[in-house]
């Protein structure tokens, strides 16, 4: 009997252990998050790995040659057309992210410090324009900046200019203006959140210790809201590089971006490996640029103090 009891023990123990495991917080949490995790794994992480794999292959007409080669990267990095597009895209997304954040900071500050009881109404007011059809918002800028457009006819009406400006539309500036508008909410919200977290008594302390509004802002508020500024820059800079709608509608010849080339490789040109190499290159370089920007901001903030 004792032998039977002893014999049964090894069967009981694992079950007890497994039920303890099943009830453990870590296991339950992981089980709960696994459906969205698996979804993102299968439809995001794995596809991106496959894109990376494609970037090392070549394509002969319709078949893909799976021998390892760096040929696509050579094309992506040395062909003048792709190099120019990449540089222009990086320039545009850098300018757009910095402009957007600089323009967004005061409004986020205003809402957080002077919004009073209407803070959430202000935030709602700011997000509304972003729920208009994206295509039509871009189209609207085309109407505003066009030759016979709203801005030109307005300026002529006021007598500021005599004939319509042609420099407004179909260049990289038009792309920058449109994207700065398109991403405004994505910059305002993270900055607002970080401003809300600033302990107001610290600002009072700085005032009591004799700091003026400008020094107080530079030494207390700005450093404390740096995480918000940085996440705003990242959330604008990286996705902006991948926009091909805005360049196509308002960019003209001089506003074409790398995403247009990527799109072409998966459309008419149908060269997946080259498109993949362009995607990977863009992603790596824009991430590096984002990293450097963050580093510069952090260093500048340390010196400003």
């Amino acid at each position: 009997m004792t032998a039977a009891a002893e014999g049964s023990r090894p069967f009981v123990a694992p079950r007890a252990r497994s039920s303890r495991l099943l009830q453990s917080e870590a296991f339950q949490g992981f089980a709960l998050i696994s459906p969205p995790f698996l979804y993102a794994l299968v439809l995001l992480a794995v596809p991106i790995l496959i894109v990376i794999a494609h970037s090392f292959w070549t394509q002969n007409y319709l078949t893909i040659d799976r021998t390892f080669t760096l040929e696509q990267y050579r094309i992506a990095l040395t062909e003048p057309i792709y190099r120019d597009l990449l540089f222009r895209s990086l320039y545009i997304s850098l300018v757009v992210s910095i402009t957007t954040v600089v323009l967004a900071y005061p409004i986020a500050y205003y809402i957080s410090f002077h919004g009073g009881q209407h803070k959430s109404l202000w935030l709602f007011l700011i997000t509304i324009p972003f729920w208009t059809s994206y295509l039509l918002r871009v189209m609207s800028w085309k109407v505003i900046l066009g030759y016979g457009g709203v801005l030109n006819s307005g300026l002529m009406e006021l007598g500021i200019i005599n004939e319509p400006l042609t420099s407004l539309l179909y260049n990289s500036n038009a792309v920058i203006i449109t994207l700065t508008h398109a991403w405004a909410a994505f910059a305002i919200l993270p900055i607002y959140v970080s401003l809300e977290k600033v302990d107001r008594s610290l600002i009072e302390a700085a005032t009591d210790l004799g700091d003026g509004p400008f020094r107080r802002f530079l030494r207390v508020t700005l450093p404390l809201t740096l995480p918000g500024v940085i996440s705003a820059i990242l959330i604008v800079m990286i996705p902006t590089v991948g926009d091909f709608v805005t360049p196509k509608l308002v960019g003209g010849k001089d506003g074409v971006m790398i995403a247009n080339a990527i799109q072409a490789q998966f459309g008419k040109a149908a060269n997946w490996p080259l498109g993949a190499a362009l995607s990977v290159t863009t992603l790596i370089i824009v991430s590096a640029m984002a990293g450097i920007t963050v580093l510069i901001i952090r260093t500048a903030a340390r010196f400003a103090r």
């Binding site: 339950q28 995790f37 439809l43 596809p47 991106i48 409004i107 324009p129 016979g148």
Partner: protein
């Protein structure tokens, strides 16, 4: 110092109003030019008409695109919200190793260039032998919507008092019963808000749909096709105006519900504290 402060105090509200004007300018042009008699959008308006609106229901391609968009939007909203509930609940209720990495991956579509996410998905779906259809668009939209759904739901789940669930369990409810009778009623407003936000995103999403759809067009794909023809612009503007008002109503509703959810979780938390 006092003059500087006064300057600052006056400068900010003025800036705020200018900024709002900048945000709303392109949006307000849509309804204005949608009732203009001339096809080309310029001031002064040549006259007022509602004919562009009257023409909308007479366009079969538009009716099809609307149907497709509704199907995709409803499917994407439901799936994204189900996945979002799992993620938001796991993040707010449990602590487990690798949590940051896992939620980072789930939120990643928010900070990735959409074109790259779309082509990656396209390659995989084609290699799996799936033909492009509205179903593949739904798959892509769910990926894009989940991060938004999670953010909305987390704000609804946070501050949710765990002792309420413990009390329910102590009183003999099963885990499922507790979820259905205690958790769900508390978080229902946040869930509906997530559904509405996801639906609105899907309705307006272009890049994913552009790569992942087969022959069936969604509304943004239809609009993209129309933008090539200058004469079709007023019709598109009329459609855009209707979509704007539709989205505005849905999102106002979503915002009211989200706030109610926030207040509800906070109030019960305070009552028990």
């Amino acid at each position: 110092m006092r003059t500087l402060r006064r300057l600052l105090a006056n400068w900010l509200p003025a800036y705020a109003f200018l900024y709002i004007a900048f945000l709303y300018l392109p949006v307000l042009l849509l309804p204005i030019f949608s009732i203009n008699t001339a096809a080309s959008p310029r001031f002064p308006l040549s006259g007022y008409t509602l004919k562009w609106y009257a023409d909308l229901p007479k366009t079969p391609a538009l009716i099809d695109a609307t149907e497709n968009s509704l199907i995709v939007g409803v499917a994407a909203a439901i799936l994204a919200t189900i996945l979002g509930i799992c993620a938001a609940r796991a993040v707010t209720r449990y602590r487990f190793p690798g949590q940051r990495a896992v939620s980072g991956l789930i939120m990643a579509p928010l900070v990735l260039p959409e074109v790259i996410v779309a082509i990656a998905l396209l390659i995989v779906l084609l290699q799996l032998g799936l033909s492009l259809s509205l179903f593949t668009v739904v798959l892509g939209h769910v990926l894009i919507c989940v991060p938004y759904s999670v953010s909305v739901l987390i704000s609804g789940f946070e501050g949710f008092d765990r002792s309420l669930e413990e009390a329910s369990a102590d009183l003999g409810e099963t885990a499922l019963g507790t979820f259905r009778r205690v958790t769900l009623p508390m978080v229902m407003p946040a869930i509906i808000s997530s559904l509405l936000v996801s639906f609105t995103i899907s309705l307006d999403e272009f890049i994913m749909a552009f790569f992942l759809t087969g022959t069936e067009a969604t509304l943004p794909i239809y609009i993209w096709g129309q933008l090539r023809f200058a004469a079709k612009l007023p019709g598109v503007l009329a459609l855009g105006t209707l979509l704007l008002f539709g989205s505005f109503i849905l999102l106002t509703f979503a915002e009211i519900l989200r706030r109610r959810a926030e207040r509800r979780t906070r109030m019960t938390g305070a009552a028990l504290a």
